[in-house]
């Protein structure tokens, strides 16, 4: 006899990563909030700590360099790898596109941009110095 309780009703149509990439392709930095409205990253099927269904939100894409390292891949110019604190209250790893990576500082304000990180890859969020609005 078949035990129906062992089966899920249906498979999910989209993974958290898949949904994130779909937003990214539209130039949107998506993240999630838990049942208490707490922002978190990376996207998941279940909110960490509280176990609720996460709510998807699109970030304004503005944040601050929390920490930074220049990665020295052999035979390449230094690559600015940064932890970015977004203003909504989540943190992610990213790259900062800059002509002067040596002058980047923790605390610098950043804004998101999107580009493929390697040939044939989908666009992912990177950051560049925030243009000062007057």
């Amino acid at each position: 006899m078949k035990d129906e309780t062992q089966l899920t009703e249906h498979n999910l149509a989209q993974s958290p990563h898949g949904r994130f990439l779909e937003h990214a392709a539209r130039g949107e930095l998506a993240f999630q909030r838990d049942g208490k409205g707490e922002a978190f990253f990376p996207p998941r099927l279940v909110s960490p700590k509280d176990g609720t269904d996460p709510v998807w939100v699109v970030s304004a894409g503005v944040g601050t360099i929390h920490s930074l390292t220049l990665v020295r891949h052999k035979g390449e110019p230094p690559l600015a790898l940064a932890m970015i604190d977004l203003d909504e209250g989540f943190r992610l790893m990213s790259q900062v596109d800059s002509n002067h990576p040596e002058s980047l500082q923790i605390g610098d304000r950043m804004q998101v941009a999107f580009r493929p990180l390697a040939e044939g890859q989908p666009p992912m969020p990177v950051f560049k110095p925030l243009e000062k609005s007057t």
Binding site: S67, L68, T69, L70, V71, L81, M83, M93, I106, G107
Partner: protein, 384 residues
């Protein structure tokens, strides 16, 4: 929560396997078995006495299976927990609980790695992480660099202070005949070395060597029947905080801030009671973080704590007396070798680098990217 009892188990055997660059075609399990045989000989126990086995390595997914097969032993209890370099401290805590619960009576903990022989990339292939890998960090170095950069920003820690850790480790290593590095190192050598991921140069990074080791644990009662000076397990604590550096809550506070107090509370001791301290030095920033998180100095003071040769031989504080992962041996999961040094110091077997009259020692293990933190406190019979 009921905790395992202070001093109810003891390390009776401890041994390194071959280290450095081992013979061609040697396997991680060969090195584990060699270390197990040496550690058993160290305490007069036979292979047939072993009924508990704890093992991990990055190169064999099911290490307890492979080692039990190799040794031809049937086990009453086993554990293959793999949380990186601190796995063996975790094994020791679990072995303590298992022996107390009567699940096994002679527990062996083993490690082996041939990462120098086969290359680091082959020994520890990195898992793909959709949120990090595309950004091309050099892991694990870039993760530790990100922590170091934040520490420097918040507390004024300097590259010279980081370099002091590497220089002190080298000086200790020159007193250890088994150490990989044989030449002196200066602060300038560290600062001018090839930059890998700012602020860490290649000399701020641990070695890539082969190696392994084993410990034998029995109840304090059983230890009395053996012709050895038992080294008692006084305390331990274990914490997991994250897997990826992007999910580390505070880049300058590690899980040692939890595992340390657990271990000290169980041992009824404080950092000031430690005659020898072994802190996993995967990178020069790590002992600085652990000195702070374990309570040897306030948060942010780790850089100043290590300056002026304080942690070098003849300094005020005996840290990483074997030369550490930076200059003695780093097969990838160094925690085992840190515990072996703590035990050998307490048994008075550390030769030219021996800390006189050492009675209590702490060994702290780190795994992943500051991800798993496990602390163990050992003591001689006088401390039980």
């Amino acid at each position: 929560m009921t905790r395992a009892k202070r001093g109810s188990v003891a390390v009776v055997g401890a041994a390194e396997s071959d280290l450095g660059r081992v013979a061609d075609h040697m396997t991680p399990i060969d090195l584990m078995a060699q270390a197990v045989q040496r550690a058993l000989a160290d305490c007069g126990l036979r292979l047939q006495d072993v009924d508990g086995l704890f093992a991990a390595t990055s190169q064999v997914r099911m290490a307890p299976l492979a080692l039990a097969e190799y040794l031809g032993i049937r086990l009453a209890y086993f554990d293959g927990t793999n949380i990186g370099g601190s796995s063996f401290m975790s094994h020791l805590a679990h072995a303590h609980a298992a022996i107390e619960a009567g699940l096994c009576s002679v527990a062996v903990i083993a490690y082996g790695s041939t990462q120098r022989s086969v290359s680091r990339a082959a020994a520890s292939p990195r898992e793909y992480n959709a949120w990090e890998t595309p950004y091309r960090p050099i892991l694990p170095t870039s993760a530790y660099a990100i922590s170091a950069a934040r520490h420097m920003h918040l507390y004024g820690t300097t590259r010279e202070q980081l370099a002091e850790v590497a220089v002190a480790a080298r000086q200790w290593a020159l007193l250890n005949p088994k150490a990989w590095e044989k030449e002196p190192l200066t602060i300038d050598d560290v600062l001018s070395a090839r930059m890998v991921s700012d602020p860490l140069t290649v000399r701020d990074c641990c070695l890539v060597t082969d190696g392994g080791g084993a410990l034998v644990l029995v109840s304090a009662e059983k230890a009395k029947d053996l012709d050895v000076a038992p080294i008692y397990v006084l305390g331990h604590g274990e914490t997991l905080s994250h897997a990826s550096i992007s999910s580390m809550e505070d880049l300058t506070v590690t899980g040692a801030a939890l595992s340390g107090p657990q271990a000290f509370a169980m041992a009824g001791a404080t950092p000031a009671d430690m005659d020898v301290t072994i802190l996993y030095d995967a990178f020069t920033i790590t002992p600085i973080l652990f000195l702070e998180d374990l309570g040897y100095c306030p948060k942010g003071e780790g850089g100043r704590f290590v300056t002026g040769g304080a942690i070098a031989p003849g300094g005020t504080f005996a840290l990483n007396t074997n030369g550490g992962g930076l200059s003695y041996c780093h097969p990838g999961m160094y925690g085992m070798l840190g515990m072996i040094e703590a035990v050998q110091q307490l048994r008075g077997r550390s030769g030219a680098r021996q800390v006189s009259d050492a009675k209590m020692a702490l060994a702290h293990g780190n795994g992943g990217v500051l991800s798993s933190q496990c602390t163990v406190i050992f003591g001689t019979a006088d401390t039980v």
